[in-house]
């Protein structure tokens, strides 16, 4: 697999760190991990994409699914650290208007705790 996923939970705050390339081959792994975390009630789910060098529509679909789960469970979700090439797919699909996207951990944290 060319993707690594690390999750850290502190109370209602969950940080998911994704590294590598997210495509049709690796997105099932991301889906399994992130949906497990998104199942909790009233969570603040922060997804760190700083080390993601590539994402296709299956990766984006996985994040849409996670967002829907989080919203249904009364929580909120923020993405941060998107590289230009990864940001591009969100813009191409206009999902940059759907997700809360912040530039780095500090600004994402500010949004979560606001």
């Amino acid at each position: 697999m060319s993707v690594e996923i690390r999750t850290v939970q502190r109370g209602s705050m969950v940080l998911v760190e994704v590294c590598g390339e997210v495509d049709l081959y690796t997105s099932p792994q991301l889906r399994a991990e992130i949906l497990k975390m998104a199942a909790g009630k009233n969570l603040s789910l922060m997804v760190n994409l700083e080390c993601v060098t590539y994402m296709d529509s299956s990766g984006v679909a996985t994040l849409v699914e996670a967002l829907q789960h989080v919203n249904r469970n009364g929580g909120r979700m923020v993405l941060f650290g998107l590289q230009a090439e990864v940001k591009e797919i969100f813009e191409l699909t206009r999902l940059d208007k759907v997700f809360d996207i912040r530039s780095n951990f500090e600004t994402a944290m500010k949004w979560v705790t606001a």
């Binding site: 060319s2 390339e21 495509d23 049709l24 081959y25 590539y54 296709d56 529509s57 299956s58 984006v60 679909a61 996985t62 849409v64 699914e65 829907q68 230009a84 090439e85 591009e88 797919i89 191409l92 699909t93 206009r94 999902l95 759907v98």
Partner: protein, 132 residues
């Protein structure tokens, strides 16, 4: 390449290098790579129903005014009229590949091949300074 998603990263690397040879910027190259990856993923998922080991022939030609990329498969023939981008206002997982391909590429043509198989020809016009 084989219809195995593990090979997609190899294809992306090759297409990226061809885009650089054709004179595309880093950002344009990454969009073209994304479009080709989406097209190939669609072949794996829809034409071959996720069965590995089936052939997908990808050819790239740098022509005087455009980069032409052709994908040919021997999978289930698609109904051409059904290959449509979906409305983006409908926020749900999946179904974005065709939208990405049509947005990124300048020319997109799907064809059925006789009883089985599909061919997709996608073109991107070269940057003006690289046209001959």
């Amino acid at each position: 390449m084989s219809s195995d998603a593990a090979f997609l990263r190899v294809l992306r690397s090759a297409v990226d290098q061809i885009c650089a040879l054709a004179g595309f910027s880093k950002m344009d190259s990454s969009k073209i790579v994304l479009a080709v990856d989406e097209a190939c993923s669609n072949v794996i998922r829809h034409a071959y129903k996720n069965k590995p080991g089936k052939p997908i022939v990808v050819t790239c030609h740098i022509l005087p005014t455009k980069l032409e990329i052709t994908l040919t498969d021997q999978g289930e023939a698609a109904e051409i009229s059904s290959i449509q981008p979906r409305a983006l206002d409908d926020v749900r997982p999946g179904g974005l590949g065709v939208h990405i391909i049509r947005t990124v590429m300048d020319e997109v043509q799907y064809e059925n091949l006789a009883a089985v198989g599909n061919r997709l020809v996608m073109c991107k016009y070269l940057p003006k300074e690289n046209r001959s």
